[in-house]
């Protein structure tokens, strides 16, 4: 069992007596005041912090699979293999870019700064574990998988019509430069953190809105899929596999426990451990709120429940709670998530009305719910102000949108971003990969 060494470390490292006292204290909480708990030894703290980063990072890495399945299920069968390839390669490109440049840009910034100096190739420094509090490489890994999440958001919105290599070039710049600059403003103790007390616990704005803005700019430059808005009407293009998409939504839901839980950044004290537990519960409950809100709303607006909107709303709820998953009481987490579900349900058709073709609903779930989650932080957390949150949202939005538009436009007028019309009709699987995702199924 994987859990056994974990438990052994716990008992070997911490004075056994203190844990005995803890359990006794917990059992008799009503009769007597809880007894003092001895803090863990320094080495134990560092080990546990490192463990949190590694375990959470691995779970967040699997969100790449969640995005991949969600997207593969929501595109048509003729583009399913290509979207799988895009997800696989964007994860790899993100990893290389974070090593090459990204991580140094997030944390190389001076306090209150706007732009870190370009420093190439990450080198972990484990020389002062007590000062750092965790293994340097574990933090690098945790940050790297976050970057990949931002990139995954883009691929879904632009599916079924974007060419592979222009997409990967955009991903490289997004993960190597654009996202790291945004993250440095807050998590690198840069401008937003120093000047505005901006708060974004695990990245509603920094990760999800960043991906969302980049996706929105891309969807506008790229244009809708052929036939989507023909004749001034919306023509729905149903996905190839709703069970696969649902699996993807579930994987993302699971991954979010690492995403938000790991963002506590420490697991070496009772307070930290309990905080992570509360974060996991709140994260879960926000998704529950999102699902139920969309379930009821689509049922009453359309007569039937819309599964794909309910999926998006689970994610919308998760994105919404990501800006502050620790402070809300459970009921507040449920409400924040439910509002995320409402936002998704309302904005999915609105995007269609604006003729912006977002294949998987990434923009409503990640961008709009990311804004919502960020703005609502002052409701549950003392310190951040509504104005500060607003400034953060606008600043990130303006920066990412401007640079994304520029990048997409440059790509469009140089190597081209849009697949040839005949390739789009044929399906990108055949034109990009020369194969079919499901060769043994008859065409419907």
């Amino acid at each position: 069992m994987a859990a056994a060494p974990f438990v052994r470390v716990l008992f070997a490292a911490a004075p056994v007596a203190s844990f005995g006292a803890f359990f006794v204290g917990a059992a008799h909480a009503q009769d007597a005041p809880a007894q003092e708990i001895q803090p863990a030894a320094e080495a134990t703290v560092v080990i546990f912090n490192t463990l949190l980063f590694l375990m959470s990072g691995m779970v967040v890495m699997f969100m790449a699979a969640g995005f991949c399945m969600l997207e593969a299920g929501m595109v048509r069968a003729k583009n399913a293999a290509t979207i799988c390839l895009k997800n696989l390669s964007l994860y790899a490109v993100a990893g290389l870019m974070v090593w090459l440049l990204g991580y140094n840009m997030i944390y190389g910034i001076e306090p209150g700064g706007l732009l870190a100096p370009f420093a190439f190739f990450y080198q972990g420094d484990d020389g002062d574990p007590a000062g750092l509090g965790y293994g340097a490489y574990s933090d690098w890994f945790f940050q790297m998988v976050f970057v990949a999440t931002a990139a995954s958001i883009v691929s879904g919105a632009l599916a079924e019509r974007i060419k592979l290599f222009p997409f990967l070039i955009f991903v490289a710049i997004l993960t190597g430069i654009v996202y790291p600059i945004v993250a440095s403003w807050e998590w690198g103790k840069g401008y937003l953190d120093a000047e505005w007390d901006f708060a974004d616990f695990a990245g509603s704005t920094l990760v999800h809105s960043t991906g969302g803005w980049a996706a929105l700019a891309g969807a506008v430059v790229l244009g809708p899929r052929a036939g989507k808005y023909e004749g001034g009407r919306v023509h729905p293009i149903p996905g190839s596999s709703l069970p696969l998409a649902t699996l993807g939504a579930f994987i993302l839901w699971l991954g979010w426990f690492g995403f938000n839980g790991g963002s506590q950044l420490a697991f070496g004290s009772i307070e930290d451990a309990f905080s992570v537990a509360k974060i996991v519960v709140n994260t879960n409950m926000a998704a529950c709120g999102g699902v139920v809100a969309a379930l009821l709303m689509t049922r009453f607006s359309y007569g039937k429940v819309d599964l794909t909107i309910v999926m998006n709303s689970a994610i919308g709820g998760l994105v919404a709670i990501t800006a502050q998953p620790l402070e809300p009481a459970i009921w507040q987490a449920v409400l924040i998530g439910a509002m995320g579900g409402v936002i998704v349900t309302v904005t999915v058709p609105l995007l269609d009305r604006a003729r912006i073709d977002d294949v998987v609903g990434a923009i409503p779930a990640h961008l709009f719910c990311g804004i919502w989650g960020t703005l609502i932080v002052p409701w549950t957390e003392d310190g951040p102000t509504f104005l500060g949150q607003f400034v953060g949202v606008v600043m990130v939005g303006a920066f990412v949108t401007a640079i994304s538009f520029l990048l997409w436009a440059v790509l469009r007028f140089t190597i081209g971003v849009r697949a040839e019309p005949e390739h789009e009709t044929l399906g990108l699987d055949k034109s990009e990969l020369g194969l079919e995702a499901y060769p043994e199924f008859a065409k419907g």
Binding site: V348, P349, D352
Partner: protein, 112 residues
């Protein structure tokens, strides 16, 4: 000999097959088809956008029988396939010129 073609709702296949067996039918061919009739498709909503399902999925049954069986067969199929809702389907009867059993070479009603 007659060829009876019945277009029915997919969920009615088992009931129709049972009714046909009772009538002594020993074989039939089923295909998945799509089409529209008076029902003219129907509207559905996907991700908040309404769309028309122009062709509704149906099953097409082809049953070759001796002519004298047809009067008993038609009400049996109708009873089994009926839900009372729009889109229950149609039954057509055609003259059948010839039938051949591939294995033995028998022809006419003996081949059915």
């Amino acid at each position: 000999m007659k060829l009876v073609i019945a277009v029915i709702k997919p969920q009615k296949l088992d009931a129709v097959r049972a009714a046909l067996s009772e009538q002594g039918v020993t074989g039939l061919t089923v295909s998945e088809v799509r089409g529209f009739g008076r029902q003219r498709g129907h509207k559905e909503v996907y991700r908040g956008a309404e769309y028309n399902v122009e062709f509704v999925p149906k099953l097409k049954l082809e049953i070759a029988v001796p002519s004298e069986r047809v009067p008993g067969l038609l009400p049996a199929i109708r009873d089994a396939a009926e839900t009372g809702e729009i889109g229950d389907g149609k039954i057509f009867v055609l003259d059948l010129q010839e039938a051949v059993r591939v294995r033995t070479g028998e022809t006419g009603p003996a081949a059915l």
